[in-house]
Amino acid sequence: MSCRDIRLKFSAALDAPRDAEDRVRIEAHCAACAICGPEWRTLLRLEELMMEAPAAPAGFADRVMSALPTPAPARREIMPFAAAGLIAAAALVALQLATVATATAPWLAPVRDLMAGLTETVRARVASSPWEITGWVLAGAATIGALSGAVMGRVRQVVG
């Protein structure tokens, strides 16, 4: 091989195992050649420097973790409450529609009487004990929240 051929193989030889045939041949040539030798030795020095790297400082992971932005609440924590809100809103709309329907349709008179009775009962309870009804509302909201959370979790399992 000529000097030119040898130099063209320098890069491939550096990526080959040390005992590869071409590399051994290059080493032998460069040991005796005043032109190729310095070039090869510069590349070996370059390789040596490229392979050196200091270790990361101790506690580097802590530094990275403390630089991370404060986590926003995960979606799965927000979802049950959002779902509960939607369900509650839907229930209120349905109740309002039912009230309107029962007030206008004559054939729904028995239902209207039943609703009127229930409304009267609730009014009486609120008047006599307002905290009791508040407790029931809160308990209902909590139940809806828990149920919707369970449902959303199951949906995510099935979908995901």
Binding site: D15, E39, M50, A56, F60, V64, A67
Partner: protein, 191 residues
């Protein structure tokens, strides 16, 4: 591929917002990321800042990773991109050999057996290499930095850069030729 060995289940957990899982990734990848960052700047302080920037970028981009794919090539690719952008943001330092030793420090007469002088020469050689590296085209610079990161094979570099093996070999050849041409005069003077 030099994979620091983070299971994809951990990556998935980190994608879901699990900070402990993210910490596991940081701890497993610190050595590889720091090594790569070092090969882009050859300066300890810069390498630390750059490594931190890589992990912060990972935190924001992790959701884009497809956990059905191997994590290591994606991570190396993302890290190399951060390194390249970091280089562009900084004031480019001219990779001029003329500037090297301009103050005469490389020409001082020193006792070659003096350990302090030896350390100084090694430091100067690294600085020269850093300047020369910053003068390489992006692809060549990335290829050679990845190639020497934990002794990565050429095929692994190709995988991380998503290019054919032959292309990586060409980039490595050009990178070495340019670095050799830039550094040889400096290093010859030191001998």
């Amino acid at each position: 591929m030099q994979d620091p060995g983070v299971p994809n289940s951990v990556v998935r957990a980190a994608q879901g917002g699990d900070r402990n899982a993210f910490r596991r990734i940081v701890e497993a990848w610190t050595g590889a990321v720091f090594g790569l960052a070092w090969r882009f700047c050859f300066d300890r302080t810069d390498a630390e800042d750059l490594s931190q920037e890589i992990f912060l970028r990972l935190h924001t981009k992790l959701g884009l990773f497809d956990p059905s794919m191997p994590f290591a090539p994606w991570m190396y690719r993302m890290s190399a991109n951060v390194c390249l952008n970091w280089k562009k943001r900084r004031n480019p330092r001219a990779a001029s050999i003329d500037a090297m030793g301009a103050e005469g420090e490389a020409y001082d007469v020193e006792d070659p057996r003096d350990p302090a002088a030896e350390r100084r020469r090694a430091e100067e050689a690294r600085e020269a290499l850093g300047r020369a590296m910053s003068g390489l085209p992006d692809e060549a610079r990335t290829a050679i930095a990845l190639r020497y990161e934990q002794g990565m094979e050429v095929t692994e570099v190709a995988k991380a850069m998503e290019v054919p093996v032959g292309t990586v070999k060409t980039w490595l050849f050009r990178a070495r030729e340019r670095l050799r041409a830039m550094l040889a005069p400096e290093w010859e003077v030191e001998k």
